[in-house]
């Protein structure tokens, strides 16, 4: 399906919040049931629309974090203090409440198991969400694509999906963390922002021709993409998705 035009106008659908998982103090995963959901590919996102009583509407995009699974959809949302939408989603919304969403949208920042590997996934903060969808989709179909995930978080308590990543890691999936602001006292891992040296160590190198996906805040993505090209990775093999600081 990659590269094939998908015809059909987008329609807004009612989505019912089914469950909430607290990932970190500022991040929650919201599980929705979306009747009529046509399915999605790992890396795609949805547009969410909130309508106030006076008719005022606010719209935001969120990456889908779950692997394709019937009418169920999981979105991982980080609270932006002065945001318009994320405070409502993370603090007001209760199980049984409904919101409007449309999708799936996007096709560029997408990985399908048939594409194989090796995969190099690089995440800044909540940019891990679409990459988690790729890892979950990979595991769901039993793909053996060699995968390295490098996640940059502020501190150990800010690592999204921490336990699940630990559980999924194994021979063919390496999960590497860097903690940029604070580290546990016994931390022996990376403790700085992602740079070329770190990317070279995490690998796989350009010789292995990995498919590279980078997602995070704009400055993070710019730095990582530049470093990867500097290391010799094909620019065409590096797919990026940026979210701005006002995403809220």
């Amino acid at each position: 399906m990659a590269g094939t035009a998908v015809l059909g106008r987008l329609t807004w659908r009612a989505a019912e919040l089914v469950d909430i998982v607290v990932e970190t103090p500022r991040v929650k995963t919201l599980g929705f049931d979306v009747p009529g959901w046509p399915g999605h590919r790992a890396g795609q996102h949805v547009d969410i629309r909130l309508t106030a009583e006076d008719g005022y509407q606010a719209q935001r995009s969120y990456s889908i974090a779950s692997a394709p699974d019937g009418t169920r959809l999981e979105l991982t949302v980080e609270l932006v203090d002065d945001g318009e939408v994320s405070p409502y989603l993370t603090e007001e919304l209760r199980a049984g409440d409904r919101i409007e969403l449309r999708g799936p949208v996007g096709g560029y920042f997408v990985w399908e198991p048939a594409q194989g590997g090796p995969l190099l996934l690089v995440a800044g903060g909540s940019g891990v969400a679409p990459l988690m969808a790729m890892i979950r989709a990979r595991d769901a179909v039993g793909s053996d694509a060699e995968t390295r995930l490098l996640v940059s978080s502020r501190g150990w308590d800010d690592v999204i999906y921490r336990d699940e990543l630990e559980r999924r890691a194994g021979d063919r999936l390496a999960v590497v963390h860097t903690l940029t602001r604070s580290q546990p006292s016994d931390w022996t891992g990376y403790a700085r922002r992602v740079d070329a040296e770190m990317l070279a160590e995490v690998g796989p190198g350009p010789g292995a021709r990995p498919l590279v996906y980078v997602c995070g805040p704009t400055p993070f993505v710019e730095t990582v993409a530049e470093a990867l090209v500097g290391l010799g990775h094909e620019p065409q093999a590096i797919k990026t998705e940026r979210f701005g600081p006002t995403g809220g």
């Binding site: 015809l7 400055p219 940026r242």
Partner: protein, 85 residues
């Protein structure tokens, strides 16, 4: 580097709403430098409207303005858009 810069993924829904086709995998050829790249890879800036720029030469490829009931889309900087059908 503008920290507010986004990319073509951010306008995927809006473009699909208009064209009824997934557009981020469409290939746009820049009218200024001739580079051909996926719409998803363009640099996107949001202000009163949306400007999509060539990631190679910064040329303004597409401009989009909405007023709630209408949309104005300008393709002044694009030579061709290739869509798989």
């Amino acid at each position: 580097m503008d920290p507010l810069m986004l990319d073509g993924n951010a306008v995927a829904g809006l473009l699909q709403e208009v064209f009824a086709v997934e557009m981020t995998t469409a290939i746009a050829t820049c009218g200024a430098c001739g580079a051909a790249d996926a719409v998803g890879a363009t640099h996107v800036f949001r202000g009163a409207g949306i400007v999509m720029r060539c990631p190679h030469c910064d040329n303004a490829l597409v401009t989009i303005v909405e007023d709630g009931s209408r949309m104005w889309i300008g393709f002044a900087g694009v030579r061709t858009v290739q869509v798989t059908v």
